[in-house]
Symmetry: C2
């Protein structure tokens, strides 16, 4: 079977997987799941993916949820250099990915969701402000690291960069300015210049 | 050098690492970091661990933050069966660990922190209630999975179980009842019965 990515390419978490799959030249399909209509929690989708989340990846082995787990899986089975073979470097990749999901994503992605998807409803404005403050702190940490590193791990482009790129490059859609972070801006450009890179819009038009 | 675990064994995230290191019979030291005194963000600690978080693991390679990254690293370099070799099963381990950090821990561990560490200050009672509700939903998901699985991945004890055990077994310290979750209770007992298992208290007395 041709692998299927369930999700919505506006979501950074889904984009991560689509970008890596594209870089690995995997022939896959996109199956659109509209989270705004609650489709990830629908009975039909829950039956195939008990985590009720997108992205989900389906191949001959079954279903896999959690964007960063999917990145590690695809990089490993394709023996990609985007996941270093050395255990210490691999651990650094995971360190950044767990940090992304615990610190960065709940701030940056939620701010963006409130602005872009929900159009800033009155009852979430306080939360938006908190997310923007936390985003600034997370981006500051990223900026400090990138002041002395060209990419997150071992100065080589890896799936850790894909994980952090996904929401950082659209942070301004959450009304989080990247102006104070020149090193991040340079790194975003470096990621966008890697061979085979595709933007959200490019993947959307090629997959749908 | 003898590896050092920086942290506080009351923290589930630190306990995860201490438990695995003990199961792997690694000869390591515990260096106590008092998060209640802000020691993880002190200038001295930040210098050695720029993630300003505990647990942190130090060995001849350097410093590593993020509990689940440390678990994967230690299991891999010790070629432990607690991390399956098969890429699909390994991906399932990561799926549970990312879910733990995104969904389970921010609910269960934060409720416990507010109750146990902070003694329920008035200004966090609303947040406590939200965390308890989210904990219940997360535990329900775990319960459903454990209704048909003896351990989280491939019915074998793995580092995914260690990751989820850490805060689940002390959920009641966050005033989250485990009474509605008999399958979780059975699984906690199975984890506690694995060969070489050590409780938080046992590790604390042997390491300090």
């Amino acid at each position: 079977m041709k692998p299927i990515l369930y999700g919505d390419l506006r979501s950074g978490n889904c984009y991560k997987v689509a970008l890596l799959a594209s870089l690995l030249e995997i022939d896959f399909e996109l199956s659109f799941v509209d989270v705004m209509k609650g489709e990830a929690r629908s009975e039909q989708f829950s039956k195939i993916n008990d985590f009720q989340k997108v992205p989900a990846w389906q191949d001959s082995n079954g279903f896999l949820a959690e964007s960063n787990a999917i990145l590690n899986y695809l990089a490993e089975i394709h023996e990609s250099k985007l996941l270093p073979a050395d255990p210490w470097l691999k651990a650094q990749v995971l360190k950044w990915q767990f940090w992304e999901q615990y610190v960065h994503e709940p701030a940056v992605a939620v701010a963006r969701f409130i602005c872009l998807y929900q159009k800033k409803p009155e009852n979430r404005l306080d939360e938006l402000k908190v997310c923007q403050q936390k985003s600034h702190a997370a981006l500051l940490k990223l900026e400090q690291h990138l002041a002395s590193h060209s990419f997150l791990v071992d100065n080589q482009f890896s799936i850790a960069d894909i994980s952090l790129f996904a929401y950082t490059h659209v942070a301004e859609e959450g009304e989080i300015s990247l102006d104070p972070f020149p090193k991040i801006q340079d790194w975003l450009s470096r990621v966008e210049s890697t061979s085979g890179f595709k933007s959200m819009a490019q993947l959307k038009s090629s997959l749908t």
